[in-house]
C-alpha cells in the first residue's frame, strides 16, 4: 500500500505538479538570455533599423559599429588596459594572499586569530570611505592616473575577500602529506611550494576566477583614480561612452561597446560557471 502511494507520487502526476515550477524558472532564464541576445543582435544593426523595428533581427550584420567602438571610441585601447590591469592585479593578489593565508590557517602563533580577523574585517568596510585618503596616498606616490596605481589599489582592496576564501580552503586540507614532509626534513619553502600549493590549486584557481570577474566588472575605483582617457579600463570606457551617448544618440554604438565588455566574462562563465558559483559559496558555507 505504502509502495503504491509512493509510485503514484513519483509518476506522471508529480511531473504535472511540477509544470508551474518549470514555467516560472524557464521564464526567468528566458528573460536573462533575451537581455544578452537582444543587445548582441542590436549591436549589429544600424540606428535606422533599430528605430524602424526594435524586435527585428538585423537585415545584414553591420560590423561597422564594432570597428567604430574599437577604434574611434577606443574600446580597443581600453580592452588592452583592462587585460593588463586585471591580469597583473589577479597575479599580485594571489602571490601575496596565498602565502599569508597558508600561514594563517596552518600555523599556530600568538595573535593568529587577531591578524586573520583584521584581514577579513576589510570585507565590511564600505569602499567609498577610502576614496579620499587613498587618493592622497596615491598622489603622494605619484600613482594617480596610472595603470600600476590601479593595480595596487585593486590588489589591496581584494585582499580581505581573497584571504577569507583561501584561509577557509587551506583549513580543509588534510595534514598527512604536510606532516610526512616535516618528518623528512623538508624546508618550509619546499613544504609550501611542493606540498601545499598543489593541494590548494583548486582553491587558488577559484580565487583567481572570482577576482578576475570582479575586477573586470569594476569601474567605481577606476572612476575615482583614473581621469586620463588613455588609461581607462574597459568598464570605465563603457561608462564614458554611455555618457557621451546623451549627445551622440548612437545607440547601436553603445550596444557594441557593451557587448565588448560583456563577452569576455560571459565566455568565462559559460566555461567555468560551476567553479565561479563554487567561489561565491565557498566562504559563506565554510568549505
Amino acid at each position: 500500500m505504502e509502495r503504491a502511494i509512493r509510485t503514484t507520487r513519483r509518476g506522471p502526476l508529480r511531473w504535472i505538479r511540477r509544470i508551474p515550477t518549470y514555467v516560472f524558472l524557464s521564464l526567468w532564464a528566458a528573460f536573462a538570455i533575451f537581455c544578452v541576445l537582444w543587445i548582441i543582435f542590436t549591436s549589429f544593426k544600424t540606428n535606422r533599423e533599430l528605430f524602424a523595428n526594435v524586435w527585428a533581427l538585423p537585415t545584414r550584420f553591420v560590423f561597422e559599429n564594432y570597428v567604430k567602438a574599437w577604434q574611434v571610441v577606443r574600446m580597443g585601447d581600453y580592452f588592452i588596459n583592462s587585460i593588463i590591469v586585471v591580469f597583473a592585479s589577479v597575479a599580485l593578489i594571489l602571490a601575496i594572499s596565498t602565502p599569508a593565508s597558508y600561514v594563517l590557517s596552518r600555523f599556530t602563533f600568538v595573535g593568529r586569530k587577531l591578524v586573520t580577523n583584521i584581514f577579513i574585517a576589510g570585507m565590511g568596510v564600505p569602499t567609498p570611505l577610502l576614496f579620499i585618503p587613498l587618493f592622497a596616498i596615491m598622489s603622494f606616490l605619484h600613482l594617480i592616473n596610472t595603470l600600476p596605481g590601479l593595480i595596487v589599489i585593486y590588489t589591496s582592496l581584494s585582499i580581505p575577500f581573497t584571504v577569507y576564501l583561501l584561509t577557509g580552503f587551506f583549513v580543509t586540507l588534510p595534514s598527512e602529506l604536510e606532516e610526512s614532509a616535516v618528518i623528512d626534513g623538508a624546508s618550509e619553502f619546499t613544504i609550501f611550494s611542493r606540498v601545499m600549493m598543489p593541494l590548494a590549486t583548486p582553491g587558488i584557481i577559484t580565487a583567481a576566477i572570482f577576482n578576475f570577474i570582479t575586477l573586470w566588472k569594476e569601474y567605481m575605483l577606476a572612476l575615482v583614480y583614473i581621469s586620463e582617457p588613455d588609461r581607462r579600463p574597459l568598464s570605465l570606457g563603457l561608462y564614458s561612452l554611455s555618457n557621451s551617448m546623451q549627445y551622440t544618440g548612437d545607440w547601436v554604438g553603445l550596444y557594441a561597446g557593451a557587448v565588448i565588455v560583456i563577452v569576455p566574462t560571459i565566455i568565462l562563465y559559460i566555461v567555468l560557471s560551476e567553479r565561479m558559483i563554487e567561489g561565491i559559496t565557498m566562504g559563506a558555507t565554510k568549505g
Binding site: 511540477r18 524558472l25 536573462a32 602565502p99 584581514f119 565590511g124 567609498p128 566574462t265
Partner: protein
C-alpha cells in the same frame, strides 16, 4: 592540524609580510586616516586643512537634506530590496532544490546577471526602460496599454523603484546561489523521514531546510546589510553624468561631494565624514543583524 611555531617565526613573518604591507599601507592606513580627515574642512588636495572638529558631522546630520535623501535610498534597498531579494531567493532555492531536471542550467541562468559588469547591466536596463523603443514600452504596446507604454520609467518619481527592481534582479541570483549551496549539504535522508511523517513540501522547507541552513542565512543577511550600504555602481551608471537626486546613495553622494559631477566640488573633509558615517552605520547594522540571527548551530 595547526603546526607549532617554535623557530618558525621568520617564516611566518616572511609569508605574511607582502600581504601585510599592501593591506596596512593601502587599506588600513587610509581607513584610519579617514577618521582624521573627517575632522577638517579641506577644499582640494593641495589646500591646507582647517580643523573643524565634529563640524562636518553636525552639518551632515542636522542640516544636510541631501545626505538624508541619499541615506533613504540605501535604507529602501536594505528593507524593501531585502524583502524582495530574499523572498525570491528563497522561492528559487525551494524550486531549484525540489528535484527538477536541469537544475544546473536554471541556477546558471539565475546567476548570469552577476557576471555582467554593472555598467553593461545599466545599458541593458536602459534599453528595457527606454520610453521610445524599450522592452517595457513594446510589452505594454502589444497588450494595447498605450498609456503605460509611454511611461518614462527613469523619471524622478519612478527612478528609485526602477533602479531597485533592476538591482534586485541581479542580487536574486547571488543570494539564490548562496542559499542553494547551503541546502545541498543537507542529507536527503532527513527529507525522506519528513515525507514519511506526512510533511508537505512547504513544511519540509520551513521545518528542515531553513533551520539547517540558518548559519548560511545569517551570513547572507550580514552580507546583504553591508552590500545595501555600499550600493554605488549600478545607479550611478544608469543615470549618466548628472544622476538625479532620487537615486543617489550615500556612496554616490560622497563621490559627488568629493569629486563633483560635471564640475568639481572638492569638499574632501566633508566627503570623508560621509564615509565615516557609512562605516558606523554598517557596524551598527551588522552587529544588530548578528545579534538577531544568533542561534544554536544544528549539527547534522
Amino acid at each position: 592540524m595547526y603546526r607549532r611555531a617554535k623557530k618558525k617565526v621568520p617564516i611566518i613573518i616572511l609569508f605574511l609580510l607582502p600581504a601585510a604591507i599592501f593591506y596596512s599601507g593601502l587599506f588600513l592606513l587610509p581607513a584610519v586616516q579617514a577618521f582624521w580627515y573627517s575632522l577638517f574642512s579641506w577644499r582640494g588636495f593641495s589646500d591646507t586643512k582647517v580643523f573643524v572638529g565634529l563640524g562636518n558631522f553636525v552639518e551632515l546630520i542636522t542640516r544636510d537634506e541631501n545626505f538624508w535623501f541619499s541615506l533613504r535610498m540605501n535604507l529602501v534597498v536594505l528593507t524593501v530590496g531585502g524583502v524582495l531579494t530574499f523572498a525570491f531567493a528563497f522561492l528559487m532555492t525551494a524550486l531549484l532544490s525540489s528535484g527538477i531536471k536541469g537544475k544546473r542550467f536554471y541556477r546558471a541562468m539565475v546567476f548570469l546577471p552577476n557576471t555582467i559588469a554593472a555598467v553593461a547591466v545599466a545599458t541593458i536596463w536602459g534599453y528595457i526602460y527606454n520610453p521610445r523603443f524599450g522592452l517595457l514600452h513594446g510589452f505594454f504596446q502589444v497588450l494595447g496599454m498605450e498609456k503605460l507604454s509611454k511611461t518614462t520609467w527613469m523619471a524622478p518619481d519612478k527612478a528609485m523603484w526602477s533602479v531597485l527592481v533592476a538591482m534586485v534582479w541581479v542580487w536574486i541570483g547571488f543570494y539564490t546561489v548562496l542559499l542553494l549551496a547551503g541546502t545541498e549539504k543537507i542529507p536527503k535522508s532527513l527529507y525522506e523521514a519528513g515525507r514519511i511523517e506526512g510533511a508537505n513540501r512547504f513544511q519540509l522547507f520551513t521545518r528542515i531546510t531553513i533551520p539547517l541552513i540558518w548559519d548560511v542565512i545569517a551570513v547572507a543577511i550580514v552580507l546583504w546589510t553591508i552590500g545595501a550600504l555600499k550600493v554605488f555602481e549600478f545607479p550611478y551608471a544608469i543615470s549618466g553624468i548628472n544622476p538625479p537626486r532620487e537615486i543617489w546613495t550615500v556612496g554616490i553622494y560622497l563621490f559627488i561631494m568629493g569629486f563633483g559631477k560635471r564640475n568639481p566640488v572638492y569638499r574632501l573633509g566633508y566627503a570623508t565624514a560621509i564615509g565615516v558615517l557609512m562605516l558606523i552605520i554598517v557596524i551598527i547594522l551588522a552587529a544588530v543583524a548578528q545579534r538577531l540571527l544568533r542561534r544554536e548551530t544544528i549539527e547534522y
